[in-house]
């Protein structure tokens, strides 16, 4: 009953999306003005209905309804509740329903709270949102119905891949999806503004919070995903340039560029065409990512759906949406002027430089991800991995970091670094540059064996961190606006993360050892001893748990318990690593299999400053959050003030 209800509600939501598209489109013409009042309520209702459909699917998973095909394929009655819920989106159909749900809810949200945008542009935006949603409704209803029943109910479900049964991963996809789909709002805004030829500061100010929100979710989603891979895959790697990781990185890069160009447009009325273009590209990258993951065209650790027919469907959607947007852009590009001009040495200049560099990295990641597909079409299988991505993206990233250190200190429009400005800008930046050079020299002298990229990374990060804090110098910290704090913290977060990445790749110590109980080994500054092995059992797994006593040079001993888990439904194994975190790094311990002579294969890594990688990611997200809070609070204040003025006027009888 619930499954049929869910499907019916989903059809109704799709019908409302059609209505939203038609009324939104008609409302743009003078004769259709009367319909304008209908668009917002329809958008809200669409969001409510699709949310109900999603709730229905979650209910089916929670109650493990074994007559529903999706539940049978992806769940099991003995699974802990949280993974039953997470199982809802841990598969193709469920994740597409979640995609549509977030899209419709975001549309409803825009309809309810957006008041800055002029009415015609908002109508066009909501119509655009409905148009994109319709493609995905069609995909769900015709090619991947999540509510399909089985002719004969099954006795038991198939279960969920053990690697995915992890609390971190339960919330990783929803976070990323909010980010991907949040960018659809930016896309719809761009379309709306192109349709009504209304690209300007007001449009940018309306779009900024949505871009910022989506970007925060993407940042946190990527950070969490990387940490998940790090502690679950059991070999200490945290980024694999896996196509699925790249699929989340590409929208992030585009959204980062968009975020910065939106703020130029909103405060300086420059970069109009560029901002609209980035709005289109950012969501296009989300869709390309979805295509890569969902079509099963690339098989990877994350891919849990393999079905080429669906791939063709998404490819068609991709062509219609992106092609349509680009065609519209070309038609209207002539009427969207560039906006105000500015000099190279100016804040806009620095932002444009970094936008172009971000686009360069995006290009590298895109071509590196797609290239193996191209050669496979010619019958040659090649792999593109870190040895390509790292140096090629560093070519763009390192100059970008250097400009990032200076940009926030420059004035808008035009800056001359002479006179007073030398003291304010040139000298502090020079000090940071000297720090960077000193660190580089120090690293080369102390540890000459490390690669050029990690050494450069350490140096740049050391210079970038103090430089990121410079915008706060000379300000009254209590009166500094939240968005400035946000920028400072996010930029510092980039430096922190870069430092962690470089240090991890330069200074990690690896120790593989076959150990008998009682044996001791050295791992960098650590002494580790295998104290014992115990069998343990969880709700749906059994495991061997090693107890490893560890002691940092001169520090207190700590007990770690890495596990080798065995799952029965579906059968699989997972090495649950154990981590000991200190301020200066992380010890990573994994229990492998038993060797032939009865000893245990243990793996240890000492990763100096590795936790900074994710701490930096969290700081970047926090910076975004502060900026968003600052913008929203300013908006609220303005509304309250306007209402007060209106009320006073009314009282005075004017």
């Amino acid at each position: 009953m619930i499954a049929e209800l869910g499907l019916a509600v989903l059809w109704m939501a799709a019908a409302l999306a059609v209505l939203q598209l038609v009324t939104g489109g008609l409302a743009l013409r003078p004769e259709g003005r009367a319909l304008a009042g209908l668009v917002r309520p329809v958008a809200v209702m669409q969001g409510v209905l699709v949310l109900a459909a999603f709730a229905a699917l979650v209910t089916l998973f929670v109650t493990t309804d074994l007559s529903v095909k999706l539940v049978v394929d992806n769940s099991h009655s003995a699974k802990p509740l949280i993974f039953k819920i997470a199982g809802t989106w841990g598969n193709h159909e469920g994740s597409m329903l979640m995609w549509v749900t977030i899209m419709a809810v975001a549309g409803a949200f825009v309809a309810v709270i957006e008041r800055r945008l002029d009415e015609p542009t908002l109508m066009a935006t909501l119509a655009g949102q409905a148009f994109i949603s319709l493609g995905f409704y069609a995909f769900l209803l015709f090619a991947s119905n999540p509510f399909a029943r089985l002719a004969q109910p099954a006795d038991e479900g198939q279960g969920l891949n053990p690697l995915l049964q992890d609390v971190g991963l339960a919330f990783h996809p929803p976070t990323l999806y909010v980010g991907y789909v949040g960018l659809s709002i930016a896309f719809s805004f761009a379309i709306g503004a192109l349709v009504t030829r209304n690209v300007g500061p007001a449009f940018a100010r309306a779009m900024r919070p949505w871009v910022l929100g989506a970007w925060i979710f993407l940042t946190l989603g990527i950070t969490a995903g990387s940490y998940w891979a790090y502690y679950t895959l059991g070999w200490g790697g945290w980024w694999f340039w896996d196509p699925v990781e790249n699929a989340s990185l590409m929208p992030w890069l585009a959204a980062t560029a968009l975020l910065h160009s939106v703020s130029v447009l909103s405060s300086r009325d420059a970069l109009r065409a560029w901002t609209v273009m980035l709005g289109v590209i950012a969501f296009s990258m989300s869709m390309v990512g979805t295509f890569l993951v969902r079509s099963g065209i690339l098989t990877s650790v994350h891919a849990f759906a393999v079905d080429p027919r669906r791939g063709a469907f998404i490819l068609a959607l991709l062509a219609i949406d992106i092609g349509g947007a680009l065609a519209l852009f070309t038609l209207r590009a002539g009427t969207v002027t560039e906006g105000k001009r500015f000099a190279f040495v100016s804040r806009e200049g620095a932002l444009v430089f970094n936008n172009v560099m971000l686009s360069g990295i995006l290009g590298i990641v895109l071509i590196g991800t797609l290239y193996p597909l191209v050669t496979e079409a010619y019958g040659v299988k090649v792999s593109v991995g870190a040895p390509y991505f790292n140096p090629a993206s560093a070519m763009f990233a390192f100059p970008m970091f250097a400009v990032m250190a200076v940009g926030p200190l420059l004035r808008w429009r035009q800056d001359r670094l002479t006179g007073d400005r030398t003291r304010r800008v040139s000298w502090p930046v020079l000090v940071c540059a000297v720090i960077a050079v000193a660190v580089f020299a120090g690293v080369e002298i102390v540890a000459s064996g490390i690669g050029l990229l990690p050494a450069l990374g350490l140096a740049l990060a050391s210079g970038l961190f103090p430089a990121a804090l410079l915008p706060l110098v000379g300000r009254n910290l209590r009166r500094t606006p939240l968005p400035v704090w946000g920028m400072v913290i996010a930029h510092a977060g980039i430096a922190v993360s870069l430092f962690g990445m470089s240090s991890e790749s330069a200074f990690s110590v690896e120790r593989l050892a076959a150990m008998a109980v009682g044996e001791t080994r050295e791992v960098g500054p650590w002494r580790v001893q295998l104290a014992g092995i115990m069998p343990v059992a969880g709700p749906n797994w059994t495991a061997l748990e090693a107890s490893v006593s560890t002691r940092y040079a001169g520090g207190m001993p700590a007990l770690l318990s890495p596990r080798a888990e065995t799952f029965s439904n579906p059968p699989g194994t997972r090495n649950e690593s154990a981590l000991e975190t200190r301020w200066n790094g992380q010890l990573y311990v994994v229990l492998g299999e038993a060797a032939a002579d009865g000893r245990w294969q243990m793996r240890f890594w000492w990763k100096p400053f590795a936790p900074l990688i994710w701490l930096g990611g969290v700081l970047v997200g926090l910076g975004g959050l502060l900026a968003l809070a600052g913008r929203v609070l300013a908006d609220l204040k303005r509304w309250v003030a306007r209402d007060k003025i209106a009320w006073r006027r009314m009282r005075q009888g004017r």
Partner: protein, 140 residues
């Protein structure tokens, strides 16, 4: 009783592993070379070799038996003093280009290597176009 339970559990855990690979892992699959310099060279090579049976993992990141065999092969050859690039070419001859995460420079990968250069040129062109006209004189 507890000991018995442990034994049963131990056996239960050991069976799938034993069924998967009846052969014990190759000598250097899970053992590092004693010479740290050689081990570092082996590691640097291993992270750039793909585990051909896995999904997007290097042989240095994988539990798969074939990855273990390949690690052992790499370590043995490094210990013998072979050049890392030579080992890579040997593996490519055996498994194809797919095994190397470092793309090989060949006509089919030329566009891949041209891409950074093309993007840099495009970036320079874009920036030049944006700023060449923006002399202080024409700024309103």
């Amino acid at each position: 009783m507890r000991l018995l339970l442990s034994l049963v559990l131990l056996l239960a855990c050991a069976v799938p592993a034993a069924a998967q690979e009846n052969v014990p892992p190759a000598p250097f699959a899970y053992r590092q070379l004693d010479n740290p310099e050689q081990e570092a060279r082996a590691k640097a090579l291993m992270v750039t070799l793909r585990c051909v049976m896995c999904q997007s993992q290097s042989i240095a990141d994988s539990d798969a038996p074939i990855a273990g065999d390949m690690r052992s092969e790499v370590r043995t050859r490094i210990a013998r003093g072979e050049d890392p690039e030579h080992i890579r070419q040997w593996l490519i001859a055996r498994y194809g280009d797919y095994v190397s995460y470092t793309p090989q420079v060949k006509p089919i990968t030329w566009p891949l290597f041209a891409a950074p250069v093309v993007f840099l040129a495009l970036a320079a062109l874009l920036l030049r176009g944006r700023f060449a006209r923006a002399r202080p004189g024409d700024m309103a």
